[in-house]
Amino acid sequence: MSLRTPPLGEAHAAAEAKLTEFGGWEMPVEFDSITVEHEAVRESAGKFDVSHMGEIELSGPDSTELMNRLTTNDVSALDPGDAQYSAITDEDGDIIDDTVVYRLPEADDAAFLFIPNAGHDEDAHDRWVEHREEWGLDATVENATTEYGMIALQGPDALSLLGELCEAPEDISRFTVAHRDVAGVDCLVARTGYTGEDGVELLFDADDSEAVWSALECQPCGLGARDTLRLEAGFLLSGQDFHIEDNPRNPYEADIGFVVDLDTEFVGREALAAAAESGVEEKLVGFRLQERGIARHGYDLAVDGEVVGTVSSGTMSPTLGDAIGLGYVPTEYADPGTELDVLVRGREKRAEVEELPFYGR
């Protein structure tokens, strides 16, 4: 299977970015160095090509009901211009993908836009269409992933930088979305992100990608820095911190129970109501290593020499200067301050459970 390339593929090649395969896409992993890019976002601003993220649009009278029945959060609570973090679960309540749902501004043709993770767009589209048919709902579902370009601009200086290119981006409050003309391109400007910093995500016609990218004069960042930034901020990575086949987890286990609204009807609700009632046996925790070594996805977590859990993500945190990670452990070991051992190539490295996020503003 050939890899999907983003509209900015040629620009990234010209910049001599290192590329990697991610979710079926060939994306930049590193422009300069992960540390340099990471620090730019923490201290000033950085831009990320995130065109590998999916875009699914819904329109028609039953859009709200269809969205509500396929995501765990309450979509009907959204006003036009609101954004909402949510999960797509199966009948068992396990997370198929996490997503951000945008209730689009009134003037837009579509009612909703939601953002599945890279490589999940086709499955999400099919799932929405199948359930629309099954439930006899009147809604149009379009996979617009290739029509959209998407760039994240993140960091403490992101808004002021954007303010030089468009009108009053600061009027767009956190977790809302509005239209702005950025460098002559009509953009949906969403005050959302995946770095733990203030910033925006811009969505626009894919053909205008170069114009938007080049207008944003700041450090270009790849998926490497995106991963270290999101991990410090305690955000989950779909397919790694949960995976419907390899590591099925419900939102309570994944520590995103806040996206579940049991007062709405959705696929997986019954299972999640039962899980909320009985509590979960294992839970995602953050941990920090207390000695030299780096935890990686798939490493074991042990207590008193006995394996009790697994690392789902781990890295060296550029901001903290310590190795950090996320992993699943029985709830009895989930309290901050609990001592765990990470098994790094068979050797125990002391770690301590820490409240998430590791970094926040």
Binding site: E30, I34, T228, I294, R296, P318, R345
Partner: protein, 127 residues
Amino acid sequence: MSFDVPDDCRYLESHEWVRRDGDTAHIGITDFAQDELGDVVFVELPEVGESVEKDAEFGVIESIKAVSDLYAPVSGDVVSVNEDLFDAPELVNEDPFGDGWMLEVDLDDESELEALLSPAEYDDQIA
């Protein structure tokens, strides 16, 4: 992009270098290798007194994005280890053929050096 390939070293296909200094030799990874890895954040090395064997693993290097084994270009007893790398692994990125060296070994068999890639051969490999 061009990478340093010093003339006074010999090379292993897996991107380690060895530089002879009398009876001992220093070992490290190449400029090309450090660039491929990106930000080096952890190095695991043998202790003084242990021995390394040509083409066998002698340690592990980790960057933010990858974990890689290190292979010995020559056999010998480890006489010193660059302990600066434990607190400053970024030295491997900054100066791979100098301050970023890893081991000094007492050479078992000098002829092992001749079987390694010459600078020109290694340069061809990474071109």
